[in-house]
Amino acid sequence: MDKKEEEFNLKLLATFKIEAEEHIKNLSQGLIMLEGKLPPEKEKEVLETIFREAHSLKGAARSVSQGQIQQICQSLENVLDGLKKRKLEFSENIFTTLYEAIDCVSQVLQGKADETLILLLSERLDFLSLQKKEEAIPKVVVQETPVVKALKDSSLEAPSSKTIRISIQKLDELMQQVEEMLMLKLASKKQVNDLQNLLFELEEWDKKWGQVQKEVYALRASKQGDFDSLIHKKEYASKLLDYFEWHEHFMNSLEEKMRLLTKTAMQDHRLASSVVDMLLEDTKKVLMQPLSVLYEVFPRMCRDISHALGKDVRLEMIGGDIEVDRRILEEIKDPMIHLLRNCIDHGIESKEERLKYNKEPSGLIQIIASQVSGNRMEMLIIDDGKGIDIEKVKAKGVEQKLFSRSEAENLTKDEVLSLILHSGISTSNMITELSGRGLGLGIVSEKVDRLGGQVVVESEKGKGTTFKILLPLTQATFRGIQVKVNEHNFIVPTHNVRRVLRLKKDEIRSTEGRLTINVDDKAIAFVNLASVLKIPVQDEEKKEYTYAVVLKSSEKMIAFAVDEIINEQEVLVKTLGKEVQHVNNILAATVTEWGQVIPILNPPDLIKSATLDDHVSKFLEVEDKAEEKKKTILVAEDSITSRMLLKNILEAAGFEVKATVDGVEAFGAFTEGPYDLLLFDVEMPRMDGFTLTKKIRSTEKGKHLPIVLCTSRGSKEDREQGIEAGANAYIDKNSFTQDNLLNIIKRLL
């Protein structure tokens, strides 16, 4: 195919995708409305709408030769037509099949379609449409929708189209703002002109000055006793006086001009600030979308999950008209989905159980959003399920060694509930695909935290649970504190910083081998930011004071030592791009007004990193470590598992590791680079460890290098053979321990 034509087709397909997604959305919404039992005229209207949707989708699919979608739509249309003409009646079976058809279209769109599945589906649809109303509907074998499928359901990961609708009015306002920017362009042009003129005048001054320079030198010389001619002098003096007069005048006018220029520059700056600020404000408004955009996916999702779990759940949503920053909507979508899943899976009881407790057989989940102040909203996710069992959470906490039994008894209800959000406790005994892994709620609170919001849980046993999420409506301008560690600049997001401290040496104490400081009479861990980030730590000895920022995320607080705290400022956040999806400890970066790039740190990551490794002790012995160069070890091991294991152990112990897969490759690597120690497996393909050792010993470079052999052949003969080959140590894999290995290596180095 011609390249241009190919490009055109791709473009066409992309447009079709966006259109199709819209149709799919409308179809789903219509179906959910129909399922919710409507008055007859309304039902007819909705049915008519979704019939048209299916028809347009079919047409669009035909124009881009998407045969599969066309086929499904045709069958879909037939069923809908039957329903419309009252030849068919609504039934659970019909709804399920219709939903599946819609999902199937989404799958085709995402290129994940299964040919046989489509055929089967069309067949089932056609079968449905051929049935008559009065006929007893034979039980069609409906594919059981397993929970897993509901999870992977396309409506949950709704293909987010990259287009949004914006009102013309908003765009017009924006255009006006942008036109204002032209003024700024003109103003800056005028400033450039004015400055050029000034420079031009200064050139004039330079010329005048040059003209009298000769006289000045002459006068200076005459002072030193060379009275050459009084007449001349007089002439010089008058020439100079003329110059000074001109000069005074010139300077006055220059001053006047400079003053004017400064004034205009200030005005221009004011204009620029207001234009830019307004434009920013208005653009934020353009990016605002009603909450209903977020709500769209929930009914379908709720239906699918509750069906899969055999539960009956009603979903009510209020506050869909509140407008929120699109980026916040996007960020909050996953947490909301997660919370909803949790409500259905853990919260709402089964029908039987509900009846037992005198509850309505169908559970109720409400999502209620309201604006609480100028820029904040509150979202409540309320279920009337079984509530959170405080005692069970406590027991789990004890089981997972988060606290002792006696500590558990002293915990208040609120403290226990906050544990659910922050510590990965899950009360569900059954780990399902949906929830129960306990990690989810932690992620919810972390995400909300990052948006500058807050999550609170309230729960009453037997009555239900309420999750309260407080969120900003627009993303506030990001503020950050710039810090410096060992010549590296970083920005710490201000909203995670609880305190900025200057500490004397003796304020840092060591308790149980960890460094701590007191903040508000509470001891908190104190770690060096540099060592958490794995950059060399600067010599701390000489300094009288240590600076630290106290970071808080998800209820955890740690003080990070830095070399310098530069300032706090507004920061323009720039993401690192698609190719860098997640860099540990780094959130994004910013560019300063001088074009300097500064990475922005990710506080939740930092706190995690700091708690994972024990940086505290490293902080104490930092001085000599920083100077030590990393020792390099060459590893040869044919089993990938053992290779990875060795590599991990050695790297964790601070060695640089080059891993090779057999003796031949190891020998190649050996000749290329300098190594401090060699560690070989004995049984390897191509060249075994004994031969390799002998070969290396025969070279000049390898004569005195420490070689360690590692094998499962632990017999005395083998050991002797190893020593004969020239190995310095022989490790038996059967009695292999990490400490043992590291001890031997340390002894040899």
């Binding site: 720039k574 791009g577 780094i586 970066a589 990475p599």
Partner: protein, 166 residues
């Protein structure tokens, strides 16, 4: 006057590019040549946005060694990857170091180059498959090698590789 000059230059550039393309009666690749260590490499021009001097590189902590750091190109941040780490080539620092900004379907990043030699045209018929001595990642990203040893990297595979992204 400036405008006129620009116009003339643009026309001249157009003519030149037409000439070279017209001369070819057979399929060809337009590439940008650069060196990594002492070896000549090239990437197809259609993946290349521009070549930029490597300056004010900001290192990132806790990243794999093939991530050199971040640079700012007209207030946009690019991550700079070092292909030498992948290809096991010697790493030296030269004064003429450049970065090549790559783009494919919205994915953008920069790769380090010791020296950028310029644009050139490679005929398909001159392309050979990999040399037997080539191993590992360079083979994964290889489009072909010319008779005079120019290693042509596959821009698309480079830009979409899971091995590069972090």
């Amino acid at each position: 006057m400036n405008n006129d000059k620009e116009k003339i230059l643009k026309e001249r550039a157009k003519k030149l590019s037409l000439q070279s393309a017209e001369k070819m009666n057979e399929p060809f690749l337009e590439v940008v040549e650069f060196t990594l260590g002492s070896e000549r490499h090239a990437i197809e021009a259609r993946y290349i946005q521009e070549v930029y001097p490597l300056k004010k590189l900001v290192e990132l902590p806790s990243v794999p060694s093939h991530v050199l750091g971040l640079i700012n190109v007209r207030r946009k941040i690019y991550t700079v990857f070092d292909l030498r780490v992948f290809f096991n080539l010697p790493i030296e620092i030269s004064d003429s170091a450049k970065v090549i900004l790559l783009e494919y379907q919205g994915i953008e990043f920069a790769v380090f180059a010791d020296r950028v030699l310029g644009a050139s045209i490679v005929k398909f018929s001159d392309l050979q498959p990999a040399l037997p001595t080539m191993t590992g990642l360079r083979l994964d990203f290889l489009k072909g090698i010319t008779l005079d040893g120019l290693v042509i990297l596959d821009g698309q595979r480079l830009l979409t590789s899971q091995k590069i992204v972090v």
